[in-house]
Symmetry: C2
Subunit: 232 residues, 2 copies
Amino acid sequence: MSTVRGARERARAEVTAAIKDEARRGLAAEGAAKLSLRAVARELGMVSSALYRYFPSRDELLTALIIDAYDSLGAAAEEAERASLAAGAPPRARWIAVCGAVRGWALARPHEWALVYGSPVPGYSAPQDTIGPASRVANTLIGILRSAYAGHGLALPPLPAALRPEADRMTAEFADGLPPEVAAALVAAWAQLVGLVSCELFGQYERVVEDRAAFFAHAAGQLAHGVGLPAA
Amino acid sequence: MSTVRGARERARAEVTAAIKDEARRGLAAEGAAKLSLRAVARELGMVSSALYRYFPSRDELLTALIIDAYDSLGAAAEEAERASLAAGAPPRARWIAVCGAVRGWALARPHEWALVYGSPVPGYSAPQDTIGPASRVANTLIGILRSAYAGHGLALPPLPAALRPEADRMTAEFADGLPPEVAAALVAAWAQLVGLVSCELFGQYERVVEDRAAFFAHAAGQLAHGVGLPAA
DNA sequence: TGTACATCAGTGAACGCGCGTTCACTGATGTAC
DNA sequence: TGTACATCAGTGAACGCGCGTTCACTGATGTAC
C-alpha cells in the first residue's frame, strides 16, 4: 500500500516481471499455444513449481501477457495522438499517425500482436479483464473523429438502410453523439487496419509488397478517407 | 496413370483423405501448433507409425492441409465469380459476391482460415508448393478489375509519387496491362478483406458488431469503392 | 491359370523427450508483542 | 531491542499424461513369367 514497498514486495514485482519477459520470449519461440511454464522456469533458473507462487496457472500467465500487450499497444497509440496533437496536426494527419504507431508497435512485437489479433489459442478464452485495455486504440481513433466532427465535420456517405439499426446500436455503445455512419465506418476501418498489419506480419506480403512502409502509408490514407477524413 | 485405378491405389487415396479429414478436426480442437499425428492415428484406429506411409512428417501433413485450404477457398471464390458472371452481374456486384464467398468459406471453415491467414505456426515454414493455390482468390479479383477496366474503366485517384515504383513493380508482376494505381489498390483491398474476415472470426467483433452479415456487406461495398468500383 | 517374388500397409515396441499441476518440505524474511 | 511466530518464496519428487519418429516385423495385395 505504501509507496516505499518492502523488500519482499519489491522482489515479488521483479520476479513477476522477469517471468512475463521470459514468457514473451517463449511466445516468440513457440507461440502462445505451446507456451510452456516449465520452459519459462528453466530459463529463469527456477523450478517449475515455483512459478505457481506468481501465476495460478498457465492460462493466467497468458492473460497477463494479453493485458500487457493491449496496454502497451494502447499507450503507443495514445502517445502518437498526443505528439501529433501537440504538433498541431489536423485530424487526418493524426489518424494516419496513430495507424502508423499501431503498425510500428506490431513490427516491434510481432508475437504480442499475434497473441491479441492473431488466431485464438484453442482451449483458452480471455476473461473480462482484457476488455478495458483492448479498447484503448479504438478510443484514441474515436477521439480523433470526435474532434474532426466538432471542427469541420466528417465527409461520409449516408448508410444503407439495412445497416442503420446496427449503426445506431454501435453509436449508443461507444460513439455517443456522433452520427451513425461514423461508428460503422470506424469499426470497418479498424478491422481493415488489423488486416493491413496482420498481412504484413503474417507473411502475406511475401513476394507481393516490397516497399511496405510506403504501401502502408498509402493504405492508411485510404482508411482515413473511409472514415470521412479525405485528403486536402 | 490409368483412370481405373487398382484397389491398392484407391485405398491409398481414401486413407490419405481420411487422415486429412481427421487432421482438419484436430486443427479445430487443438490448433495447428499442437496438431498431433498420434491423435490423428488414434482417432482413425491406426497405430501412429502407420501414418508415415502417407506423410513423411507432421510438417508435410500441415503443408497438405494448407494447400487444400487455399485450393478450396480459391474454388469458392472462382465459383462465386462464375455464378454472378453468368447472372449478368456488373463488376461491382461480382466483386462483392466474391468477397462474400470468401467470408462464407471462412465462416464454414474457421480453422482452415486461421491456418492460412492467421498467425504463422512457429517452427513451420510453408514450402513453394503453396504459392500457386494461394493466389487463386487474388487472381479472381484481378480478373474482375480487368473486365471492369476494359469496360467502363476504373475510378481511382492518382497514386502518391512515393508509391509509384512499388506500384509499377506490382503491376508488372501480377496485373500486367492495368494502370499502376489498380495493383496497389487491389493489394490494399485484399489485406483489408482479410482483416474484416479475421476480426469477425477471431473474436474481435465480440460486443462490437452484432449484425455481421449486414456489416460485412457494407464494408465489402467500401472495398469495391476503394478499387475503383463505386456504387451507381 | 498357377506360381514365385516384389511391393506395400499396417503393427508394436522402443527411444528420448516434454508437459501442467500437486504436495510436503525447508529456510529466509517480515510482524507483533 | 529481542524474541516468538506467521508468512511466504522456492525446492524436489512425484503423478499421469502426451509427443514425433525409427525400426524390425507380419501378412496381404499386386506383378511377371
